[in-house]
Symmetry: D2
Amino acid sequence: MSLGTHNAELNQLAMSEKAQPLLDAVIAHIRDNVDPITEEFYKLGEGRADRWSYAPGQLELLETAKVKARESGLWNFFLPNAETGEGLSNLDYAYIAAELGKNPLAPETLNCSAPDTGNMEVLERIGTPEQKEKWLKPLLAGEIRSAYAMTEPDVASSDAKNIATSAVLENGEWVINGEKFYISGAGDPRCKIMITMVKTSPDAEPFKQQSQILVPIDAPGVEILGPMHVFGHDDAPHGHMHIRFNNVRVPEENMLLGEGRGFEISQVRLGPGRIHHCMRSIGQGERALEMMLDRALSREAFGKKIIDLGKNMETISRARIELEAMRLMVLKAARAMDVLGNKEARIWVSAVKAMVPEKVCQIIDQSMQVHGAAGISQWFPLSDMYAGQRTLRFADGPDEVHHHVVARAEVQTFKNSNDRTPVIAAGRKFEGP
Amino acid sequence: MSLGTHNAELNQLAMSEKAQPLLDAVIAHIRDNVDPITEEFYKLGEGRADRWSYAPGQLELLETAKVKARESGLWNFFLPNAETGEGLSNLDYAYIAAELGKNPLAPETLNCSAPDTGNMEVLERIGTPEQKEKWLKPLLAGEIRSAYAMTEPDVASSDAKNIATSAVLENGEWVINGEKFYISGAGDPRCKIMITMVKTSPDAEPFKQQSQILVPIDAPGVEILGPMHVFGHDDAPHGHMHIRFNNVRVPEENMLLGEGRGFEISQVRLGPGRIHHCMRSIGQGERALEMMLDRALSREAFGKKIIDLGKNMETISRARIELEAMRLMVLKAARAMDVLGNKEARIWVSAVKAMVPEKVCQIIDQSMQVHGAAGISQWFPLSDMYAGQRTLRFADGPDEVHHHVVARAEVQTFKNSNDRTPVIAAGRKFEGP
Amino acid sequence: MSLGTHNAELNQLAMSEKAQPLLDAVIAHIRDNVDPITEEFYKLGEGRADRWSYAPGQLELLETAKVKARESGLWNFFLPNAETGEGLSNLDYAYIAAELGKNPLAPETLNCSAPDTGNMEVLERIGTPEQKEKWLKPLLAGEIRSAYAMTEPDVASSDAKNIATSAVLENGEWVINGEKFYISGAGDPRCKIMITMVKTSPDAEPFKQQSQILVPIDAPGVEILGPMHVFGHDDAPHGHMHIRFNNVRVPEENMLLGEGRGFEISQVRLGPGRIHHCMRSIGQGERALEMMLDRALSREAFGKKIIDLGKNMETISRARIELEAMRLMVLKAARAMDVLGNKEARIWVSAVKAMVPEKVCQIIDQSMQVHGAAGISQWFPLSDMYAGQRTLRFADGPDEVHHHVVARAEVQTFKNSNDRTPVIAAGRKFEGP
Amino acid sequence: MSLGTHNAELNQLAMSEKAQPLLDAVIAHIRDNVDPITEEFYKLGEGRADRWSYAPGQLELLETAKVKARESGLWNFFLPNAETGEGLSNLDYAYIAAELGKNPLAPETLNCSAPDTGNMEVLERIGTPEQKEKWLKPLLAGEIRSAYAMTEPDVASSDAKNIATSAVLENGEWVINGEKFYISGAGDPRCKIMITMVKTSPDAEPFKQQSQILVPIDAPGVEILGPMHVFGHDDAPHGHMHIRFNNVRVPEENMLLGEGRGFEISQVRLGPGRIHHCMRSIGQGERALEMMLDRALSREAFGKKIIDLGKNMETISRARIELEAMRLMVLKAARAMDVLGNKEARIWVSAVKAMVPEKVCQIIDQSMQVHGAAGISQWFPLSDMYAGQRTLRFADGPDEVHHHVVARAEVQTFKNSNDRTPVIAAGRKFEGP
């Protein structure tokens, strides 16, 4: 189904009334429990001995906020009940995610950080009771963190079929060899488990060769080669790690869902996490626009306020228009997941994935330009924000792959359609061959 | 209020259930009563003696369709009841307008052509009983057509305060002198009346100098100098006329609302017409994309289908994404008119006015490029469509003016806001001066 | 050889001293002999009975100017001496072409109109003595005009191998069947001959299947179906004609160069004509910028001159910078033809062909926007200019084909290169896999 | 004079024959003396104790190369002889600068690093004998380094008239107070002197208020607050420092040229340094394109080489075309400095300053996208290159200021011109008001 296929229900983009109290509670939580500790948290971190650890006191600050979230019933609100299917709709979650994006500590205090949400969702839906007991339980309790090991340095992993890290079954153990990079969160000392995409059946048909498997980060043979930088940032202690698997052995039962079902699991993973990312990107665009206004209204050059020079007013208008258009598109993608299910809604998700980070990068860049040289310095968060958004144009597949998904759906819809617009437009009949 | 000011109610963009039967009826009317006469209508027109008239049989074809619309209760559905305020919401109208855009004859058969809808809306809301009797009644009956005379060749009328056509009261008559151009619809032989923007009080404060007044097109002194072309098209017999007012005298009671209240009336005029235009633009973009797919799938070069060459798939994806984003924005502007009223919603209307025609021009241009040289010829409607959409970037004010409206609202909201995003983003505190 | 391959000689872009007197003479000729008749020429044309003819007096005006050109020794200056190889360099011609582009009648008065220059060049270089006597002589004398029939409506002729019009040898005659369109100049009543691309050897290897052949326009079976419009313009009486060849028979000796050598001839055709087109495009961009300045400096809105509003100053700067960059690129392409020969220089020609019309379209579009609604009307030449430049993005191959030529050369150069930039940049060593 | 004012001499862009031996010598020097030490130099640097120093051995490596440059007669080749005016033309220097840009150590080994070249040029042209003796001599000998202190954090210094750092004459000493940032090179332990822009005459007319003065970096009261980061890089030990002047006292004779003549000196400073920067930017674009080709040709996804996917070939072509156009523009700016002098040529310099870094940023960004996630990591220099080029969009004035310079020249040329293109274009006469 192409994006253009109309369905009025999909345009009901207002938050539900029943989600309002939750949204209010989240806003209050951030204001009362998270914002007040944020400055101290980062200040403490500056003095830490090892970039890949937390300073004394940092985790305690977080724990305090986590306790308060539990007390307010906000802990794990992201996860639908697997049996009843009840839970927050993706649309309602999107509105809340926009708030979560305003403070970088907020998600963890509510146990909804990436990539944990995706990992918990996968385990919750397709994990065995043993897998749930061992990994989901401590994740839900916020006792450990997790990672998702997909991308590889040696192949163009935009084509997931290229994934080459191998897993071979030997004596009831999977023996894993290969190299992954950009394993986000694997630098955190609390990270204990990685869901890892491996090739188990090189001779099967293309979409049945891959599997996903649970690999403890402290398994012998897991070698962390170092952090990948993004625009010079190592994002310690979270990190985007470069990891080599040297004959890593995990028990046979660590396989998720079943051998050759790796791509099937990826379909499950399209949930709240993706929407969270997109709403956070829009939040970054909002922040860049707000900073642009602040700077442009507070400085003068050539006898005028900066805002009244050149194209600045038009830049502001265009940024605002694009932000609103993106927000509606993300809400619609969330709504599509609710109405059509994740599989059918993947076209909408690809559309916003291809649309949002690219445009947000442009808005941040324009905000930098209005700031002058200070805008790219440590005095403003703009260059960090840019690095983050630029990175998103690769995460979960580069823009080009998502555009291809959208275009292919468009072609299919066109081919299936018998109900074309008539060939008369603007009063002229098509006289072609 | 800036576009970014959130209000969940504004995001309820689904068509109402009660509008569904009307939408169905309009679709059926176009399919059954309009599509079947369209080719004949234009073919008859080709043989007319005078470009500024209709050929025998043309108007009869239209009348037949109009009668059927009346029988189905679809006549004048666009107009809310002035007393009860009841009628179609702008949001519901937007969905219907998308259908109206698919056949250029459809609007007239339902009496909702531009600029008649705007003129009828103004007369209905602020006309005197005598003005209604004389002009609104025949307009509602579809017996006459009308025009709106605003733009002037000698000044930058993007700044409406520049309007220079003067009206001076002499012996109970307004004596009008000046020159207007791009008076759309004034070429139609059935056009009888023009709502005309004039300067009546040059010494009043800037926004109180202008008035709007009813000028019969056959009043002595109204001199039609000729049609303005757009990209070489004269759009006869509708036309975009260049008109000189030479001592044109109209009775004192032709003044609308009152001397100096011209800008006030413009606020009323932001109704269904504007939304109709935008939805029609999106329809043109859809049509261009559909043609792009059709051509790209049916031709080959260098051993591949055109669609598989170079950037064509990405072009298709980007066009689809932008079309969906624009559609949601137009629906939201319609919804804003319903929820906030025309005055408050004007920022949304400016946003879509600045956004839509520019992007649709790009999509049409890309479709042309995929078509090769034939794409700009008379064999395809693309160059006509382009000319039409390019013209819209000036109609009702150039893009730049609408961007300014949006940016100004953004500045105002920023200044009023006490609730800024905290200065910590991405874990880094702003250390600036 | 890629564009990036350096060769200092190629950067000698100044006009030669010996060309200066010729340039001065051409400028004087246009000022004294062409500008004064231009208005009258077009005014006479408006009254002509048949769009596809000239009005009495029109051709006489042209002939007078042509006589003066002959008297000044300017007639046919474009053509190098085939035996000595002497003549104007392409670089010098480019400077002169810029002047020719300022008056649409100028080229014909000097016998250097498109597509005649290309046709004459081909005949001069590879024609047989008989072909020269019959067709080149009257062309050089300015007694007849000519056309070049390449593009076909039924195939994507951007891939010239798709050309399907067939020529089969029967009894000493080539029998031609097929359909061509956009045959520029074939509407002129003086046009007598078409160089026509045909498929003669469908079973030969791909680049040996095509031939070019001389077809008199009055040969039995040549059916002119009508003019192709570009953005609604038919460009009568010059015209871009749609022509069907119905069993058209021409003598065997009308074949140019030899059967299967069609592509070889195309290489010859890369001469003055191509450079002329590009310089003329830049001239159109200059004209659009000049009009933008004129309008922006002479109107006011919102209390300021238009030029001081919004992004207009930056738009002007960007237009100027792009125009200068394009001019240098065209001069370098001309220089490359002089230094490297047409075949090697084709990469440069593709570069400017892909670069210039697209950017000039943007500049004209921006000039329109500054003009307001009048900018797209018949009051200004901008929409005609836009149509012309937009058309050039297809003529001689769409932009995409030329970008492909440039990129392919780039790939080849990269593969051949052993002399890569060292892997250290900005002080950081490449640590990659 | 606008860029569009033609002057054939300006288009003579080939390197002179006499510069060829120098270019060859520079190439040989880099190959033989600089490339071989580069890896070691940076490796040594990694182990240094203090980021703001050099490790033992680093400077010795550089000195060895400097000695070799002196032996080959290449030392200080950038500086024209002040008395005879003889020296390298800017055009020839541009060709050499392109080579210098290929190794980051190369300029220093030839004593032509930024900002020293600009400072030496200023001292050489307008310094007093005492100033030359004290500062120019050790700079020419490569014994010390220098900085240029212009930009201020508290004002929009894109408008140099905003400069607020004050210098007041007291008892034969200038007492300086204020704050500067982005003082490039002031982090180097060898940096001894800063040419500092100060406000000396706040009551004079706007362009006479500023002066430039020599401030030793070790003068009491010069407080280095820390390095400004650019996209997270501190560029140690060179650095872009943030400096406060607290009652810094320098002798009266440290004033350059005279009180109130600060802007006059800036005109002198438009020399080789600016051209060097631009050629280096183009070199970075070349490098990004080369890396794009390398990656796109060596990886596969979806069964094709990356280069054959989507728009990649067109991206390569567009990058190449823009690079060539930029190179010609920079050469022309250099030539303009030679032919017209620095003052008149400043329009050309502004044009390339506004054109080059913006486009090079785009090319680097596209190269990143082709690389996938690795492209923004430390494995490739692309994100560093991006940070560097993005910074250049502010250095020496933001793009907007340079566009304004170009546009203003355009307006002036238009107003002065009596020789407009005639109003007939494309056969249509302007019928406007």
